[in-house]
């Protein structure tokens, strides 16, 4: 859109329950101006790879459910704008469920992403 269509490379850490080691999927994602990391993840699952697991709810930075490691730093996917290529990993502070989904109920009070 707006003649500034570009594509970014998105590397996502993947894991099934009980799987050890690192496995990554890579995607080429067309990005519009001012897209969030959540928009990118939603696009990947909705268009490129139905198997990708992620969690999101409010989309406005309040529920903190979409906390991820974005290029190594804990961020909310919904309020973090895409600036270039991305590497996405689950929030290491919680037990992993699958891919980018972790079990946040184990530590209710400490879900805030560092900002």
């Amino acid at each position: 859109m707006e003649g500034n269509a570009k594509t970014i490379r998105v590397k996502v850490r993947r894991a099934e329950p009980g799987e050890s080691g690192s496995r990554y999927s890579e995607y080429q994602v067309p990005v519009d101006e001012k897209m969030s990391v959540f928009n990118v993840v939603e696009y990947i699952q909705g268009t490129l790879d139905p198997s990708l697991a992620y969690y999101a709810s409010c989309r406005i930075g309040k529920c903190l459910g979409c906390t991820l490691k974005v290029n190594g730093k804990l961020r909310l996917a919904c309020t973090t704008l895409v600036e270039g290529d991305l590497e996405l990993e689950p929030d290491h502070r919680y037990p992993l469920i699958r891919d980018l989904v972790v079990d946040m109920s184990s530590r209710e009070e400490s879900g805030a992403a560092s900002e």
């Binding site: 928009n39 697991a53 989309r59 406005i60």
Partner: protein, 586 residues
Amino acid sequence: MSSEQTLFHKTDVVIVGSEGAGATALIEAARRGLEAIVVTKGNGVGRSGATITGEADLAVDSRSIHERFRIQGSDPGDSKEQFFKDTVVGGKYLNQQDLVEAHVEDAPERLADLLAWGLKPLFVAKMSGHTYPRGVMVSAPELIRIYRKKTRETGAKVLNNTMVQDLLIRDGQCAGVFGVDLTTGRTVAILAKATLLATGGGMMIYPITTAPEELTGDGTAMAYRAGVELADMEFPMFLPGCFPWPQAVRGVNTPFKLSSAGMVHGHLLNKHGERFMARWDPVKMERTTRDILAVAIWTEIMEGRGGPHGGVFVSLRHLPENLIDYILEWLPPKYLKRYGGFDMKNFLPDLSRFAVESVPACHFFNGGIRVDKDCRTNLPGLYAAGEVTAGLHGANRLSGNAFTDMVVWGHRAAAAMAGDLKKFPRLEADPRQVESLRAKILAPFERSAGEDVRKLRRDLRRTAWEKVGIVRERAGLEEARLRVAELQEASSRIRLAYQGMVYNREWVQALEQENMLDNLVCMVEAALAREESRGAHYRKDFPQTDHRSWVVSQVLTRGADGVRVRKAAPVITRLQPPGDVQKYGI
């Protein structure tokens, strides 16, 4: 494919939904000594639902706020009677007035609970549609912290990441719920003497919404499939002024704050630069009521006079630059600069030079499960509270009443269940029903070929937006009826490309597809049958509000060959509706 059998739980009360209404019900149920299990699709309490998204105002009559709580900004001139009246006038006389009476009566009691639990009120605001300042402003994250703490203190089991899909029925009674633990893929049955649905609305049926991801009308749909009565499904409410773009902030209501909310007098323009509100309300223009704004903006967009991102334009260019600068200086810091976790300077252009685009976004479901003043449905053992219900708000909800809805009615549901519990034995599940529900839930894994749910979901949302949006007419609704039937047929043939059982989003989408379609089919039939315009329902082909023949609720049930619609007069206790035909929006 999991070969594990269904996991069974047993309890007195099962509550589906962990946020506002569900959490309130749990706290009260526990106080009354009931054993309860809470089930949520969310990843822990506070990680889902509309409660946390609110810029939270809790509506309570201003006299009670003044006399009992002494909160700044309250006005003792108000009364419960006036709050009742405003709610019914705002609801265009379709409210069940016995529900509204209970609502205004209980509201101060529930505010007292919240304050006793440590919630700090900020101030009281006068919101549109209210004669007096009744909006007790609180911080939603603060509220969620209280719900988390109180929920944990009950000691109740909370089944997180668990999607309930259907009700268990035995001997004409609700025997509990059936669903799936998304973290393992294992099916789950929770047997209970009483079941409470507190699942919220179905706003995700529309592609532009202020609501969170998981609000796909699940409770309403499972009730419908079990033969429970729904009502008022033609009244999904839209907030007239959200960003259609940029994508990150789609659904954020900053444009409304610039055009119509009161602090800033922006102009609404179409692609010709015409200030089109002059055609709808030449006196109040952009400051007319929300229903008229929504219809007007929608009409511009649908008739091809919108902008490149699908909205109309909000402009401040008629104001001098130094005044715009000054406005931005004196506005409360959070008014335009922050929205939730967004720093809005990333999304707002230089307002002295550029307009922003604005589109209505689906914000609330006035309709849902039909309940009485004790949250009972027509299925013994099944209760509903909060946004999933119909009747309190009628055809249009006033600001602040969503918050009051969840705390008043979550509490009332728990009280009613406690009183009724001895009437209901805890039934064993019907093994044939469990097997058939399990087979239905797992069916998308079994097919060797079939439909892609992601595409069907997009089609459903597009159909809802284009044909069952704000401005409706017979031809479009009839097209929607056909399209929904096609989608239902296609959705019965969904095949999952990814076959894993653990947190499989495609699978969740397939389950949600069934729910959204069951909502949408009711919305289409109710909108077709209502040949007038009222509140959140506008018919281009019947643009007037007909109080002679349409002060009726439409009750929807599932029949053998589709939705059955019957008319029922609302309960009227104090305020008689007018008897004439009026211009829409008055």
